[in-house]
């Protein structure tokens, strides 16, 4: 697995950006500064980072209700994202959509999605577009373990397989659909096993190891760009925070959370970078400071941005 130093540094910075962004949102949400629901991605940073490190600007992603990490990894603007969470007019959806409706088509971000399993049809449509137009663009379709029990999952895999569409189905299996353990909602432990039903490759990777995710997706992207069709990659991971901010998480034990914290993707990657002589502690500290400043700037931008006016309330409303 040859990875350029610059890409490794980007991966590190991106994972830190997601972590800091999400932790700041948690703090601001508790302080009543962010509106609507937020579902935070803390703990799952390696997945979005490892996937998007393989994508070009013109490639697409479809996201979920837990979308901030995906959007940041595909190049989403932190200031516009934060402003949206603050409900300000400068936000991605002019402050009227909130966390679960952020999109940036110019960057190939086809939207976060408030509907569980809602990204599948969009991903298949984008994949069909790429094939129909003869481009070599690919689509990364993020979804959770709960979404893999939705009908759209099965329809999407079936159609993508039949038409050999360039879609990489990225399952973020964090073990819980809201508060329901995967053990109680599925009689198979591996979402990847379902690929066999659609005659496409399905595999499991350590979703807390950014390099394992990167390498698996690299191969899936090669396959998709060369017209061989879709792949299902299940990334085993964990969210440290609740399903939503305010979730009391009574459905899981503190011991379980602690065990997963031992597998935290960021310290693991820091250790690899340091031991292999790729980055020094000083270089990592510099990036930490840069990221911290970026987040503070995004918050400042959001706080100083205007509110939407009452006259705008029906603008951009289509249904």
């Amino acid at each position: 697995m040859a990875v350029e130093k610059e890409k490794l540094q980007w991966m590190y910075k991106n994972m830190l950006t997601i972590r800091n962004f999400e932790e700041k949102v948690a703090e601001l949400f508790a302080a009543g500064k962010c509106y609507g629901f937020v579902h935070l991605y803390v703990g799952e940073e390696a997945v979005a980072t490892g996937v998007c490190a393989n994508l070009r600007k013109e490639d697409y992603i479809t996201s979920t209700h837990r979308g901030h990490g995906h959007l940041i990894s595909k190049g989403g603007d932190l200031k516009l994202m934060m402003a949206e969470l603050f409900g300000r007019r400068t936000g991605y959806c002019k402050g009227k959509g909130g966390s679960m409706h952020i999109a940036d088509v110019e960057l190939g971000i086809l939207g976060a999605n408030g509907i569980v399993g809602g990204g599948f049809p969009i991903a298949v449509g984008a994949g069909f577009t790429a094939k129909y137009k003869g481009t070599d663009h690919v689509v990364a379709c993020f979804f959770g373990d709960g979404a893999s029990n939705q009908g759209t999952f099965h329809e999407a895999l079936n159609m993508a397989s039949i038409w050999k569409l360039p879609v990489i189905f990225v399952n973020e299996n964090n073990l819980y659909g809201i508060s329901l353990s995967q053990k109680k909602s599925m009689n198979v432990p591996d979402v990847a096993a379902r690929a066999a039903a659609y005659n496409i490759p399905g595999l499991v990777v350590d979703g807390n190891d950014v390099l394992a995710v990167y390498e698996a997706v690299q191969e899936a992207v090669k396959r998709a760009r060369s017209g061989e069709g879709p792949t299902l990659i299940e990334c085993k991971t964990y969210r440290y925070r609740g399903h939503f901010e305010g979730d009391p998480t009574v459905y899981r034990s503190d011991e379980e959370v602690e065990e997963w914290r031992k597998k935290d993707p960021i310290p693991r990657f820091e250790a690899t970078l340091s031991q292999m002589g790729i980055m020094t502690e000083e270089q990592m500290e510099k990036i930490r400071l840069e990221v911290s400043e970026m987040i503070e700037e995004a918050v400042k931008f959001a706080e100083e941005s205007p509110w939407p006016s009452p006259e705008e309330v029906l603008e951009d409303v289509y249904a």
């Binding site: 697995m1 432990p189 690929a195 490759p201 499991v204 390099l211 698996a216 191969e219 690899t272």
Partner: protein, 334 residues
């Protein structure tokens, strides 16, 4: 009391080789079916008790759902992390409990993890992984019966089993890990998705087996040597670049399921027990039984030592013949 241990790995058969080679997904439900037939085979041969490694899927508890057994089947009391360390810990505990045989459901990687925990209890390795040399594709019923005959003493472990070798992996002279079949020096600095398929990065191989009928890296040895390695022998191979090197010779070998690749062999040497092969590249990684497992950090010195301290493995056919001769087989009555 006749006690048998079962270690079934729910994670085997699902890695990236489904994508980069042509490995098939080994469904856990099939592992349940195999485990059920193993349990039935064990009970038929007089085993009193089975202790099993608990796992997140519950392979053995699910296997019990459709059968009624007289023997006791209980989980080991252990905390499972969902990693290969579970198999290592389970093997240690089973040895301590006095298990007479360890039945292992998984691939080479699972058996390697079990061997890290115990080598003194005979293994009955049942293949459910990807690159499988150490375990065999066998019918669960027969695997259970053979393991049961050995555990119950109908056939002596000495007669029923054959010895295996292993490779000790040393970093700066300290034992770090082991392999049962092959250790490969891989020119990369990351463990990544673990499996290996890019043969241009495989610089050296140390093998305990060399058979052209093997799947995986040990097949390279088989293509070169054209004979079986003896019980006290291993093989060290140095590979070169297919593009840049004109030295040596080329062989083509099945290095992963459906992946038949040419490699350039610069040098090969038979090695003896106790011989230690030094790897001179760092940083790099070492793949053990087909998976990147050990990092060689900058400035560190890695080496591989051939040993005959592998687990003893039950020979199913020999065991079943001996059981017939010792009149232990069920169903033979007037």
């Amino acid at each position: 009391m006749t006690l048998v241990g079962i270690i079934a790995n729910p994670a085997s058969g699902k890695d990236i080789r489904r994508l980069v080679a042509h490995g098939s997904v080994f469904d856990n439900i099939e592992k349940v079916n195999i485990a059920r037939r193993i349990l039935l085979g064990l009970e038929a041969t007089g085993v009193d008790k089975v202790l099993y490694m608990p796992d997140y899927f519950g392979i053995v508890p699910r296997a019990l759902e459709h059968v009624r057994l007289k023997m006791s089947v209980e989980p080991l009391k252990m905390y499972c992390q969902g990693t290969q360390d579970d198999s290592t810990l389970a093997a240690k505990l089973l040895e301590k409990e006095g298990a007479k045989c360890l039945i292992v459901l998984g691939g080479d990687g699972t058996n390697r993890a079990v061997a890290k925990g115990s080598i003194s209890v005979p293994f009955m390795p049942v293949s459910t992984g990807t690159n499988n040399i150490f375990p065999s594709m066998v019918e669960g019923t027969i695997a259970g019966m053979a393991a049961g005959y050995v555990a119950a003493g109908t056939v002596s472990a000495e007669e029923a089993t054959y010895p295996t070798k292993r490779l000790d992996i040393l970093i700066d002279g300290e034992l770090r890990d082991l392999a049962l079949v092959d250790a490969a020096l891989y020119d990369d600095i990351f463990l990544g998705s673990k499996a290996i398929w890019d043969m241009s990065k495989v610089k050296e191989l140390v093998l305990t087996q060399a058979k052209p009928s093997n799947i995986g890296l040990s097949s390279v040895g088989g293509m070169i040597l054209q004979r079986h390695l003896a019980e006290d022998e291993g093989l060290h191979i140095i590979l070169g670049s297919l593009e840049d090197s004109k030295e040596g010779f080329e062989v083509t070998a099945p290095v992963a399921p459906g992946l038949i690749k040419p490699v350039r062999v610069l040098e090969f040497n038979e090695i003896s027990l106790g011989d230690e092969i030094g790897f001179d590249i760092s940083p790099a990684v070492i793949a053990l039984d087909g998976e990147r497992e050990v990092e060689i950090l900058p400035g560190r010195k890695a080496s591989v030592r051939l040993s005959n301290n592998g687990p003893r493995v039950i020979d199913i056919e020999r065991t079943m013949w001996l059981a017939v001769q010792n009149k232990g087989l069920i169903g033979r009555s007037k």
